[in-house]
């Protein structure tokens, strides 16, 4: 992203200037940023040209670079790192902000979840009414931060519970979870907001009695709820749900996610997992997939240098599968699987794994930097 870096050096206000006279949508959260951004971009693209950073470059330079791609495009859809969101809001003056979720992730870099939520709240309370926030009501941190803004569209996909939300983001008391974790409330008055858009199964129910069947070619529950969000955003910008879905339902792979990587004779389905919440989602999706699975763990800056969170992941879905591990931190994951009673082998890389797996379909679940290295080899569909 050298282009963006140079641009910001020469013109520190570049993002501000390049956002003028444009409709800007920002997408942030711990998991699902790239996928949701790509889905929204494609859906809005059916109406007008859109610039976006759908390769995951979501820091300062990445935003500058994306905005400078096509100066004539009237719409920009940008995924934004959680910590960069306050800056991005000040610079781009967005029309809509999509907030997905907040969970523990790269604690060494991003700090604890409440710290991120507080930063969000601080900037969301300064938003004008002309800026809407499409906020996830299931996530207490997103809900709490978003309540500070005046114009919120609440969304639910029926996610139950939250591993980091034992205490109330507002007052620090114990947060009470009801209905098997479907709702939450606190004695201070903070509670789950009433959602206007409800994803129930595959059906998206809207505030004007809309009933929209969501179809997604991206596997898993998260893929479906991100597709539903993209439909809500499309409606916000006056794009018909049908037109939006025609595009969205065909997107099977975003920036290598769920793409096919062929190594020797093995056809790997590439999946990204980078924190406990995304591992849980990915392992659930992978459990429906092939028997063979390779896990690749690194701990570079972008992965988070601390691997402790591995112990927060329930690896039980890997039982009775053929499991191999590799990556710079394969011993960390091997120790974790050993204690969890998951039989596995340690290999040096995906080529060694492919020699063992042979001529089969296999899943390959990789942490951030490993994923991005491997995604370069994914065949563009």
């Amino acid at each position: 992203m050298v282009g963006g870096r140079i641009l910001l050096k020469l013109a520190p206000n570049a993002v501000l200037e390049l956002s003028k006279n444009r409709q800007v949508v920002l997408v942030s959260g711990t998991n699902g940023k790239s996928t949701t951004t790509a889905l929204i971009t494609q859906a809005l693209n059916s109406k007008s040209s859109v610039v976006s950073n759908s390769t995951g470059a979501n820091l300062f330079a990445g935003l500058a670079s994306a905005l400078s791609q096509d100066l004539s495009a009237p719409v920009a859809v940008l995924e934004v790192d959680e910590m960069v969101l306050p800056w991005a809001i000040a610079q781009t003056k967005p029309q809509l902000i999509v907030l997905l979720n907040l969970g523990r992730d790269q604690l060494d870099r991003l700090s604890e979840v409440r710290v991120v939520a507080q930063k969000w709240q601080g900037v969301l309370k300064t938003l004008p009414a002309s800026c809407a926030v499409l906020a996830d009501a299931d996530d207490p941190f997103v809900a709490w931060a978003s309540l500070a803004s005046v114009n919120v569209i609440w969304f639910t996909s029926g996610v139950h519970g939250h591993m980091d939300a034992s205490t109330c983001p507002e007052c620090g008391e114990i947060l009470q979870w009801q209905n098997q974790g479907a709702t939450y409330s606190c004695t201070c008055g903070f509670k789950k907001p009433n959602p206007e858009w409800i994803l129930r199964g595959n059906t998206l129910l809207g505030p004007q009695n809309q009933e929209i069947e969501i179809t997604s070619a991206i596997p898993g529950k998260a893929g479906l709820s991100n597709a539903a969000r993209a439909v809500v955003v499309s409606q916000y910008f006056g794009v018909d749900a049908e037109d939006a879905l025609r595009v969205i339902s065909k997107i099977a792979s975003v920036d290598g996610r769920f793409g096919t990587l062929i190594v020797k004779q093995t056809r790997f389905r590439l999946m990204l997992s980078k924190n406990p919440a995304s591992w849980r989602e990915t392992l659930a999706t992978s459990a429906q997939g092939p028997k063979d699975v390779l896990l690749v763990l690194n701990a570079n800056v972008q992965d988070g240098k601390d691997t402790s969170w591995l112990w927060d992941v329930d690896f039980a879905p890997l039982k009775n599968r053929t499991v191999l591990v590799s990556g710079d931190r394969r011993l960390d994951i091997s120790a974790r699987l050993t204690v969890a009673g998951i039989e596995h082998g340690i290999v040096s890389d995906e080529k060694s794994a492919a020699e063992i797996f042979g001529n089969v379909e296999a899943d390959l679940i990789a942490s951030y930097t490993a994923f991005h290295r491997l995604a370069k080899g994914v065949k563009k569909s």
């Binding site: 523990r104 604690l107 060494d108 700090s111 604890e112 979840v113 409440r114 980091d164 034992s166 205490t167 109330c168 620090g172 008391e173 114990i174 240098k305 601390d306 691997t307 402790s308 969170w309 591995l310 112990w311 927060d312 011993l331 960390d332 091997s334 120790a335 974790r336 050993t338 204690v339 969890a340």
Partner: protein, 229 residues
């Protein structure tokens, strides 16, 4: 009586994979055929005061304060009953006289270890490597905390810090060892990276332990130690 391990308030004190220490302790006991039970005590559940080994993990500010309220006098009773405690990070701070909270507040701790924790000017984040004060292999972990912990009387640290911060305040030490408490700023979790520390603590509770083939943990330990050298 069956040996009882107690995992305290994982919803509040479990930000850094801390339940790993409990799982590893249990696994190491199982491998040696030592019967035991693991009691996980959640919010609102009774805290046993006659168990053998208690685990306290790391947590965020609000959660740490709630944990303090909930624990009440249960751990000081457990200590009087002869229990052992392994505490990490926020759990370590909780054991002392006071610990800091957001907005410059000071919160009264459990008062079962002669320490106090102050807020540090800068968060300590990164690999930590120390030379233990007990006869086990070098210690390795990852720290992430905004506290600095002072001994209120002459105490034995868990380790002398070679790289990283630990207790801070210019002391170059990490953690604390008393007859019944082992505490540290090392997560990772500590028992995953330091199998000898796990066994040293377990042997204080159950007596001498048979050697254990746990190759992956030794390899992980050595890899982490070599990574900071």
């Amino acid at each position: 009586m069956t040996l009882a391990l107690v995992h305290l308030l994982p919803e509040l004190l479990g930000t850094y994979g801390d339940k790993g220490n409990v799982e590893i302790a249990s696994w190491r006991l199982n491998k040696r055929g030592i019967a035991h039970e693991v009691l996980t005590v959640g919010i609102g559940e009774a805290i046993p005061t006659r168990a053998d080994l208690y685990f306290l993990g790391g947590g965020e500010d609000d959660a740490q304060i709630k944990a303090r309220e909930i624990l009440g006098t249960s751990l000081s009773k457990a200590i009087k009953n002869g229990a052992h405690i392994f505490a990490v990070c926020a759990g370590f701070q909780l054991l002392g006289a006071t610990f800091p909270a957001s907005g410059g507040r000071t919160v009264e701790g459990l008062g079962i270890a002669p320490i106090e924790t102050l807020s540090a000017p800068k968060r300590s984040v990164g690999e930590i490597f120390s030379k233990p004060s007990i006869p086990i292999a070098m210690l390795t972990g990852f720290e992430n905390h905004a506290g600095q912990t002072r001994f209120l009387e002459d105490q034995q640290p868990l380790g002398n810090v070679i790289s990283g911060v630990g207790n801070g305040l210019g002391t170059n030490i990490d953690g604390l060892i008393t007859n019944q408490i082992v505490a540290t700023y090392m997560h990772g979790p500590a028992f995953a990276r330091n199998p000898e520390l796990a066994d040293w603590i377990l042997s204080r509770v159950v007596g001498e332990l048979a050697p254990l083939e746990s190759e992956v943990f030794i390899k992980l330990h050595d890899e982490r130690v070599n990574a900071v050298k």
